[in-house]
């Protein structure tokens, strides 16, 4: 089993766990963490790809993609947490599935 395959399979597993959390869990924090796991899984796949060049020199493009991906994920996470925090202070709810009742509104 090549090193790349280990990274790729591990990454796919982490990605699947993250997808499950994002789709199936209701708590906003679980969803944010799930999305981050999906990102981390993808980054594992990309990082493992770097050493697959024929001459053994590391391919820098996947690493550049991971760096950019991390930046984007941080921004998405920050926005998600900001929305979750304000939603909680406005409604007292920790998930987006329940309809806020009339009394919850400011």
């Amino acid at each position: 089993m090549s090193t790349y395959l280990i990274y790729a399979l591990g990454g796919a597993l982490v990605f699947a766990i993250g997808t499950y959390a994002l789709l199936a869990r209701r708590h906003v924090m679980h969803k944010v963490i799930g999305a981050n796991l999906m990102g981390s899984g993808t980054f594992l796949v990309l990082i493992g790809m770097g050493n697959r060049t024929p001459d053994g020199v590391t391919d820098p493009v996947p690493q550049a993609m991971v760096l950019t991906g991390i930046v984007v994920t941080v921004a998405l996470t920050a926005l998600g947490l900001a929305i979750a925090k304000r939603y909680y202070s406005v409604t007292g709810l920790d998930n987006l599935d329940d309809e806020p009742s009339a009394g919850d509104r400011p």
Binding site: L22, T42, V45, M65, G69, I83, R86
Partner: protein, 494 residues
């Protein structure tokens, strides 16, 4: 080197940064000047592309495959021009909209910066020729769009924005995994280089196919094609009115354009068998389901948002027709891009008009807006004229696009899509007439005083009238479609 493509990204970015650091009092002035500059640049770009063919711009002079290239071909120039026209009208509307609602409402002061950031990322998304850069631009559009949806800061807006953000995150991560798998199989990111690599025999490796499937699925979620439309109606309806218009008219077109480039510009015909038909079937379901939902909505912005779900469906009929190639491909693509343009103009007009009606009546219930034709004649005209485009009656852009798509379906021997297109027109007539009948009723409901800002009526009217006469611009659209990597050279349009 011609720097026009780069300037179209730099201008709104500079405007956004300037608005953010300067005082609140000049927000509107800077945004209006920026909108005018972008519109001028967009017209220049269209003229340049029509005169000298597609432009390819190497950012920093590096060039593909190492650098990131911008590609300004005909369809990209068309979408940039559409964004400039709709964006200018939305900006004009917003200058009248934001002061008259409570000025201290949470976050409203941030509208101008976020709006110009969204404009920047939309232009970048239309121009990019690199599949990874598509990911970055999509996320920039998504982040600014979610922030704009939540501007009101109340429970409904936050809930809609949060759901939109999670749908957006799911699509983003799926798309990125798709890019990773595609890169691992092919080792390229530039769209033109990818297309050549995928045409090599034996290139249909499973890695590339799985990667492209994930990318297509992610873009379908971003474009809100049924059944992935669940986030759209609440997000578009609970945003401030100028934001609703920009989201429905422009943002869904951004991810759609990326999908179009992947499906027709990167993949060789038949690379993912069955996907093109599946997308068109989902599009047909979207036309019917979105129209029926639009018929059932009691609140006016939800009604307009479900009409968007239906109109998005038309954009997906092109894929099985494109397989026929040649003239049918050019005709179907021309019809699709004309539909996207007509829908962009008419839907922005419809959302802005609906928002103004809500402000006048002080509520959102369609049933209690009787007699608007007398108290708000311009707004009633907006809804009616935009409805003509939604139904596809001549001489509107909706008529031209449906005529071209139906001709393409018949020529391709796939007449069943023509049936769907006809049914969609009837359903659109049903849901539009239901609202127009209420507005034109004899009895009148209470209406607030006429607003001081005439922009709130004229900005949507200009858009609705432009959509109404868009069929006159069909030759321009056809000329632009011919200058595209999506249509093989030598194909003549009717």
């Amino acid at each position: 080197m011609d720097h026009l493509p780069a300037l179209l990204i730099i201008a709104p970015l500079a405007g956004a940064a300037l608005v953010f650091v300067t005082s609140r009092s000049v927000d509107r002035a800077i945004t209006c000047i920026t909108a005018a500059v972008i519109t001028g640049l967009a017209v220049l770009l269209v003229a340049r592309v029509l005169g000298g063919g597609a432009l390819r711009y190497e950012i920093g002079g590096w060039g593909a495959p190492l650098g990131i290239d911008l590609v300004a071909d005909g369809p990209a120039a068309l979408f940039i021009l559409l964004t400039a026209i709709v964006g200018s009208a939305v900006t004009a509307y917003a200058t009248g909209y934001f002061p008259v609602t409570e000025p201290t409402r949470y976050g409203h002061g941030l509208f101008w910066t976020l709006w110009l950031f969204m404009w920047t990322s939309l232009n970048a998304l239309f121009l990019t020729g690199d599949v990874f850069n598509v990911y970055v631009c999509l996320e920039l559009v998504g982040i600014s769009a979610v922030a704009l949806v939540t501007l009101k800061g109340d429970a409904e807006a936050l809930r809609a924005g949060g759901r939109y953000l999670f749908a957006s995150m799911l699509a983003a991560m799926t798309y990125l995994l798709g890019v990773a798998l595609l890169y691992s199989a092919v080792g390229q990111l530039d769209m033109e280089v990818l297309r050549d690599a995928l045409q090599q025999p034996g290139a249909a490796a499973s890695g590339a196919a799985v990667g492209l499937t994930l990318m297509v699925a992610a873009l379908v979620l971003k474009t809100a094609l049924v059944p992935a439309h669940f986030w759209l109606p609440t997000a578009h309806a609970s945003a401030p009115t100028p934001v609703s218009a920009a989201l429905s008219a422009l943002v869904v077109k951004g991810s759609y354009f990326a999908l179009l480039r992947l499906m027709l510009g990167v993949m060789p015909p038949g690379f993912l068998p069955g996907v093109d038909v599946a997308l068109a079937v989902l599009g047909s379901i979207a036309i019917v389901w979105g129209s029926v939902q639009a018929l059932l909505q009691s609140r006016i912005k939800q009604f307009v948002a479900y009409s968007t779900v239906a109109q998005i469906g038309y954009l997906f009929i092109v894929f099985p027709l494109a397989r026929t190639g040649g003239d049918v491909l050019a005709l179907a693509l021309g019809g699709t891009l004309l539909h996207a343009t007509a829908h962009g103009l008419a839907k922005a007009g419809l959302f802005l008009g609906a928002g103004s009606l809500m402000e006048r009546f002080g509520h959102a219930e369609i049933a209690r807006m009787r007699g608007a034709a007398r108290s708000a004649p311009v707004l009633t005209a907006v809804i009616t004229l935009a409805g003509v485009t939604m139904m596809g009656l001549p001489p509107s852009g909706g008529f031209g696009s449906k005529w071209m798509l139906i001709s393409a379906s018949v020529q391709a021997g796939q007449w069943w899509w023509a049936l769907v297109l006809g049914l969609g027109g009837l359903l659109a007539a049903a849901y539009m007439f239901r609202v127009v009948a209420v507005l034109m009723a004899d009895t009148a409901d209470d209406v607030g005083p006429a607003r001081a800002a005439v922009r709130l009526e004229w900005a949507p009217l200009v858009l609705a009238v432009a959509a109404l006469f868009l069929v006159l611009a069909a030759p321009l659209v056809n000329d632009l479609v011919a200058i595209s990597s999506l249509v093989p050279p030598g194909v003549m349009l009717p």
